[in-house]
């Protein structure tokens, strides 16, 4: 058990949290967590999961790296997809829609990477800039909710919801076997030492933003699948939960520590918490309090100082 928890690394806290919340969830509403319902549950959680995953690579790249534009970007993908691609052009086939959406993700990642890593605007300012641009464009393109989506896309929020997530982790599994992964973690840990050993630190960072944009575009797709239409207001709040999920999952805001799996666990924990509170019929205000509280408690428990003390208390090896 100890070895297993070590393998989970920074994510072990989120793992325990998810298990506990899952047990409570199953206890309070067993019907919603039947195996046959898992596709629907995953579909509901999907935008949150992708948002947290998308927020992670820029944070891993260190030195204040962060992408706060992720929420509005998912909203922008949603309205571009529904308005320009599906409604205006009438393109509804997956082999047209999926590459276009992924292309948007790469483009957004390139823009953020250019601003934050190449021009070297402090990442939070650069991506707050794109946050404003994306959310402005979103409400300009589609001032009020409208449109519809093809059936295959809607099913992505139900029975086929596992497919994009599985593909994403397959891609990440491949990336972890490339030198790029080591370079990313090294850059996040100590960019000066990494630069001195000949790594193109700027390129690595741009790559991290592109990965974030790519994952974020899948989030936009999942959001569209879940909504079944275009809605200009739903995107921006995902920024908060994305960063919260990543932090909960043990992704260090200082860079170089954590991973996508942890971020996913963090997002699932938030989703499960949301689910319990909704079931208990609390107001959205209490839900917001719970978000804030869990976020603070999670980062406190995840912090190096508290972790060291906990390890000593439990008599584990350092």
């Amino acid at each position: 058990m100890l070895r297993f928890s070590n393998a989970l690394g920074e994510a072990r806290f989120a793992f325990i949290f998810v298990i506990v919340l899952l047990i409570i969830n199953i206890a309070v509403s067993p019907a919603r967590f039947r195996p046959s319902q898992l596709g629907i549950m995953l579909g509901l959680a999907a935008p949150l999961i992708y948002a947290a995953i998308a927020a992670t690579p820029p944070i891993l790249s260190g030195r204040g790296g962060i992408d706060v534009s992720i929420g509005p970007f998912m909203g922008l993908v949603n309205v571009i997809l529904v308005q320009f691609i599906i409604t205006d052009r009438g393109w509804t086939e997956p082999w047209i829609i999926v590459p276009l959406v992924l292309g948007l993700g790469v483009l957004s990642g390139l823009i953020n990477g250019l601003l934050a890593a190449i021009i070297r605007i402090p990442p939070i300012v650069a991506t707050l800039g794109t946050y404003l641009i994306y959310s402005g464009l979103t409400t300009y393109i589609m001032p009020a909710p409208r449109g519809s989506i093809p059936g295959w896309l809607a099913s992505l929020s139900q029975e086929t919801s596992i497919i994009p997530l599985a593909l994403l982790f397959l891609v990440w599994w491949g990336i972890r076997r490339l030198p790029y992964y080591e370079q990313l973690m090294a850059t996040g840990g100590d960019d000066r030492a990494t630069y001195s050993s000949g790594v193109n630190v700027t390129g690595v960072r741009v790559g991290a933003y592109i990965l974030g944009g790519l994952f974020g575009s899948i989030g936009g797709l999942a959001l569209t699948a879940l909504l079944g239409s275009g809605d200009p207001t739903v995107g921006p709040p995902y920024t908060l939960t994305a960063i919260a999920g990543a932090a909960l999952g043990g992704v260090s805001l200082a860079g170089g520590r954590g991973g996508l799996f942890g971020a996913m666990l963090g997002a699932i924990a938030i989703f499960l918490l949301q689910n319990i509170l909704t079931f208990l019929n609390v107001t959205s205000f209490v839900l917001q309090m719970a978000y804030g509280f869990v976020l603070v408690v999670a980062v406190v428990l995840n912090s190096a100082a508290v972790q060291a003390r906990l390890t000593r208390l439990l008599g584990g090896t350092q």
Partner: protein, 329 residues
């Protein structure tokens, strides 16, 4: 030497920007240079400048304070609610400021003592506070606004006339908040330059390890700084109550981005230790001016937002860039 540091080129750039935007406004937007529009911009700048005090201090430390909009909303709603409930305003003010200081101390101490990034801590604490305020009022805040606060920030208000040595001066065509913020701002600049607290703040921001060796207590300074940040946010919340006339828990939302932008346009580095509140004052004016011109050009609200994003990115790209890795070895 100290004075020279106040006037390094980023201030110069910001002032030139303010002038350029003003000229563009005069040229393109009818009525832009009128007394009313200048008054409105000065009041909005003063409100933003109060909210941005904390962001400046936090960034000088190398941190950030995302709880500012939430504390603004908290003060806004709680002040109206308590005053409406019949408490005298002095007590209301002390309660609001006291609670805000506690929120700030929590932010600062959690971040510094556990080494957690303040971005997450302030976001979490702020979200919690706003949820609590909304739950308390069930989303429909009530209450009243003291008339003198209304008068203090109202765009249409005038100041004076005063009698000084038998001479009648004024009335000045702006509300009291404008000169108060200007003088208060200069006091803040001097406090940061000349007091032990101010020097320790800069020391900790520019090199935490060296500051620790010089016996600066990081947790103490972080606690004090974030408490100050929350106190100024609370003051901004109370002033906004006078400005809008009614309480609203999300009234602070625009200030999240605006305080960060004002500080950065004013030339303060996000990495800590470099910059000053003087820059923030100019930055706040530039930002308000920009917003006014963009709306005056007839763009709709969505496009104003997008254009503001573009302009801020360009501005920061011109003079707010970080050093390259190779320059930091």
């Amino acid at each position: 030497m100290r004075l020279r540091r106040l006037f390094t080129n980023s201030y110069f750039v910001a002032v030139v920007l303010a002038l350029v935007i003003f000229l563009i406004g005069r040229w393109q937007v009818p009525g832009f240079g009128s007394l009313f529009s200048i008054r409105a911009m000065l009041v909005l700048t003063a409100l933003l400048a109060v909210a941005a005090v904390g962001q400046t201090l936090a960034m000088l430390l190398g941190g950030i304070d995302l709880s500012i909009p939430f504390v603004i909303g908290f003060a806004n709603v709680v002040a109206a609610q308590l005053y409406g409930g019949g408490l005298p305003f002095e007590q209301v003010f002390l309660i609001v400021i006291g609670f805000a200081a506690l929120i700030g101390v929590l932010n600062g101490i959690l971040s510094a003592s556990l080494g957690i990034h303040p971005l997450i801590v302030t976001l979490g604490v702020g979200t919690f506070v706003q949820g609590a305020v909304l739950e308390w009022t069930k989303g429909f805040p009530g209450g009243r606004v003291p008339a003198f606060i209304n008068q203090f920030v109202s765009i249409g208000a005038t100041l004076g006339p005063y009698e000084v040595f038998g001479l009648e001066i004024g009335p000045f065509p702006f509300p009291a908040v404008v000169p108060v913020v200007l003088i208060g701002g200069l006091v803040i600049v001097l406090v940061l330059e000349w007091t032990v607290y101010g020097r320790q703040l800069y020391a900790l921001g520019s090199n935490p390890d060296a500051a620790r060796l010089a016996l600066v207590r990081p947790v103490f300074i972080w606690g004090v700084t974030y408490a100050l940040s929350a106190i100024f946010a609370a003051i901004a919340g109370v002033l906004l109550l006078g400005f809008t006339g009614s309480a609203f828990a999300r009234v602070g939302q625009p200030y999240l981005f605006q305080t960060i932008a004002a500080v950065v346009i004013g030339g303060t580095s996000l990495l800590g230790g470099r910059g000053s509140y003087l820059g923030t004052l100019i930055g706040a004016f530039v930002l308000i001016e920009l917003n006014t011109v963009l709306i005056g050009l007839g763009l709709n609200q969505s496009l104003v937002q997008a254009a503001l994003g573009v302009v801020i990115v360009i501005l920061v790209a011109v003079y707010g860039r970080e050093a390259a890795v190779r320059a930091r070895i």
